[in-house]
Amino acid sequence: MKHLRGGPRKIKYPVRKPSASGLRIERIQKTFGTYRVLDDISFTVVPGEILGLIGPNGAGKSTLLECITGLLPVESGTVGWEDENLSRRQRRQLLWYQPDNILPFAGQRVAATLSFFRRTHGASTTDLEQLINGLDLSPMLNKPLQALSKGYRRRVLLAIALLSRQPLLMLDEPFDGFDLKQSLAVMDLLRQCRAGRTMILSIHQLSEAEKICDRFLLLDQGRMMGIGTLDELSRQAGLSPGASLEEVFLAII
């Protein structure tokens, strides 16, 4: 794995037990007033995979993640784990959603914030130290979150998310604010942390999504335009195998 600033660094991340079942989303509908934000969204997430939620700004990616987590009510639809529908309480045990553009406990030192989430997630100090090293957060630990640059804020949020122990991790725009090199390092970190863990990444940068995701769910104006691997989506779009995600995206949406 690559260190965010320096060269490669061997870091051993906590290995989690793989889960034998997956997330099931069925016919989710969500409206804000008269505007339908999500229209009949259904899909499953295979355990251990990384699913990319792909779509332009305003496609409904963040709303979908909040509906899955239970942070937003839905008009209809269910969220389940295999055959069992999940209550809000069960979702708290199984899912962790890291929203975009948040600044939790902004005036507090980064070290205190990370320590708080380490404890609440039940993670070990070794986990935290490894994440701090991997995300190159050491120089920022004594600064308040609000004093950090956008990139460092992202790293702190990523660390909070990766400290969580829930088997399904949903990250909203995890690569936003990173340059190419940093994005690659974050991808490397996510791959290391994926052992036994399922991830849904909401991404609007197609190049990054193509590099890390196993499958893609294409969203546009709240509608599901397609789901599958890049090859499957290429076939759906009538493109030859080997087409880039950008080509597929433009062909489908």
Binding site: I102, A112, P144
Partner: protein, 447 residues
């Protein structure tokens, strides 16, 4: 279904409580409030001691006036007026922050994903505010120390009731502020909503002063009106229940509306249920109140023999009063007699006869102005007196009962000529610097 490693609910609650306290201690609003409390309490205390001393000089020359020198009324209630101001105008800003800032920063979205229900989360935030309230009592404790040091008298039950009243008032204000922050999109809107309630309550109490009918009832049930009962040293189950009912209601409303994932219909249903259940319980306590007079001079109570005799009246005692409610004679009558009768006589009917006037001075032109009529079991009597010593025999005569007052020690009063100006350094300098010393590293994110 896989499960994640989890802390126990208690461990998680403790961690969040520490985090909330850390957040509050890093809030400039808290420290500004504490510094202002210190200055206001100090000023009120020094002024109160000065006035008390002036009155005490006269009382020392005329011992019969000494019984009127009560430290609770002369020192502590005016000093705690500073707390009323702070709790009404400043505390909401601190309380709003504990939810509003989490909403604004997005921290709430993370906290709500932790394996802890919103009700517990709200409870933890309320507990953190409790600590803030305890911290704000530091100047009050200093007042007690200085008053004692000056040789002043302290009657603990009265002080306890005063603290309890302000505690319940603060609890209610905090619960209202938390709810305002929950339903508002921004901190300023929440502050305006909360101040509308607290200042509205003060206004209602002010407007109801000397009025009758619904306005009087509303005024007595306003937050300010309820707090006044505690300031008078009278512990009433009705007011405790009303304060607790309101606090619990707003607390439950906060917990209900805090989670953005709940459907509005479900939130409305839960809110209505809480309103009906708590409203019913509080109404029960308000309609059948019990009182405990914790004043040292027992100013809210009749002599035990009188109280026993009055409780035996099984018919309706009707008192018709031809006095303007703003007349000082009426106010004396109300405080010295009517309020006590309301708590003792099982069936009491008070009739405030219309004076046919619009003002205090025009009222005096009416022939029977000042007359008070008594009727019990078809027998009538009347008097112009507003003195308890003259009125009780009239009532006993009408009811055909006898009461021989039990000997009780007379309240001798506690006049004290003292100078509290020496304490000003503590309230104006030492305490503010102490708060500032804790605030600066906290606000700079050093904790």
């Amino acid at each position: 279904m896989p499960s994640s490693e989890r802390l126990s609910g208690f461990q998680l609650a403790r961690l969040i409580l520490i985090q909330e306290i850390r957040g509050l201690l890093a809030a400039p609003a808290l420290w500004i409030m504490l510094i202002i409390v210190s200055l206001l309490v100090g000023y009120s205390f020094i002024q109160a001691v000065d006035l008390f001393s002036q009155a005490s000089r006269t009382a020392k020359s005329f011992p019969e006036l000494a019984s009127g020198m009560n430290p609770m009324e002369g020192i502590f209630v005016p000093t705690f007026g500073a707390y009323y101001l702070t709790e009404t105008l400043l505390l909401p800003f601190v309380a709003i922050r504990i939810i509003g800032l989490d909403k604004q920063s997005g921290a709430l979205k993370l906290l709500l994903q932790l394996p802890l229900p919103p009700l517990s989360l709200c409870g933890i935030k309320l507990a953190a505010m409790g600590l803030v309230w305890l911290l704000s009592l530091l100047p009050a404790l200093l007042v007690l120390v200085f008053w004692h040091h000056l040789g002043g008298h302290v009657y603990p039950p009265e002080i306890a009731v005063l603290f309890a009243g302000h505690g319940l008032y603060s609890l209610t204000v905090v619960a209202i502020a938390m709810f305002a922050a929950t339903i508002s999109d921004s901190l300023p809107t929440a502050a305006m909503l909360c101040l509308a309630v607290t200042l509205g309550s003060w206004l209602l109490d002010f407007a109801a002063g000397g009025r009758s009918g619904m306005l009087e009832i509303l005024g007595s049930l306003s937050l300010t009106g309820m707090l006044r009962q505690f300031e008078h040293g009278l512990l009433s189950t009705a007011h405790i229940a009303a304060f607790l009912g309101l606090s619990l209601l707003f607390f439950l409303l906060t917990a209900t509306w805090l989670h953005p994932g709940r459907r509005p219909a479900s939130k409305l249903r839960n809110s209505l249920t809480a309103l009906l259940v708590l409203g019913g319980l509080a109404a029960g306590a308000v309609l059948a109140p019990r009182y405990m007079d914790l004043t040292e001079n027992r100013k809210h109570s009749f002599n035990p023999a009188d109280a026993r005799a009055l409780r035996q009246l099984d018919k309706t005692l009707t008192i018709t009063i031809h006095l303007d409610r703003q007349d000082s004679r009426f106010q004396d009558l109300e405080h010295d007699l009517l309020a006590k009768l309301k708590r003792c006589v099982p069936k009491l009917k008070l009739r405030y006869a219309a004076t046919g006037s619009t003002g205090l001075y025009s009222a005096a032109k009416i022939d029977n102005y000042g007359l008070i009529e008594y009727e019990y079991n078809g027998r009538r009597d009347q008097s112009y007196s507003n003195s308890q010593e003259e009125i009780l025999p009239i009532i006993y005569h009408l009811a055909g009962v006898r009461a021989t007052p039990e000997p009780a020690p007379a309240y001798r009063g506690y006049p004290l000529v003292a100078d509290a100006r020496g304490s000003r350094w503590w309230f104006y300098l030492v305490l503010p610097l102490f708060f500032l010393g804790i605030a600066i590293p906290g606000c700079r994110g050093k904790w």
